[in-house]
Amino acid sequence: MTLTKADIAKKIADDCGFMKGEATEIVEKLLDIIKQRLIAGEDVMISGFGKWTVKSKHSRRGRNPQTGEELILDARKVVTWKYSPVLKKAVNSSLSK
């Protein structure tokens, strides 16, 4: 099973009292706000769920694993996410049964 944006929008429509179109727009906006903050280099923490952190990677020499050719990998930013302890506990108590 996979949860998608459409599933989340449907849940918002059904449980929070919106038309499907409005709910979709709201979910898009919510995700967009998070993306904007991350792109601006800011961390985003949702208590009970997890925290996204923006990390800067230095440029480094790498290799194309297929050809063995050396190349320079540019400095770049990456986003990492760490689960909240609450979520970890909930996942484990449910799936460990």
Binding site: M1, T2, L3, T4, K5, D7, I8, K11, I12, D15, C16, E25, I26, V27, K29, L30, L31, I33, I34, K35, R37, L38, I39, E42, D43, V44, M45, I46, S47, G48, F49, G50, W52, V54, R76, K77, V78, V79, T80, W81, Y83, L87, K88, A90, V91, N92, S94, L95, S96
Partner: protein
């Protein structure tokens, strides 16, 4: 940014009452958590995906005392950044 900042921004941008925005933000993350708790993956185009990885348990040893330790099977959620977000971070 934390959850209450997100609530404020969503309320402002979508012209919603604060309480409604809070209800929505809570519902979004509760829905996502509920999916992960059942072992489902989450796929949000342009943003990223979440999957549960299973780590099998094993019998380890305390290297100092030699004592056997049972490490139990565990499940951890992982996030993979989506293509659009990854590109815009470096755009």
């Amino acid at each position: 940014m934390n959850k209450s900042d997100l609530v404020k921004m969503l309320a402002k941008e979508m012209d919603l009452p604060m309480r409604k925005a809070e209800e929505i933000v809570d519902m979004v993350f509760r829905t996502m958590s509920a999916a992960l708790v059942t072992g489902s993956r989450i796929e949000i185009r342009g943003f990223g995906s979440f999957v549960i990885k299973k780590y099998e348990g094993y019998t380890g040893r305390n290297p100092k005392t030699g004592e056997k330790i049972e490490v139990r099977t565990k499940y951890l959620p992982f996030f993979k950044t989506g293509k659009e977000l990854r590109e815009r971070l470096n755009g």
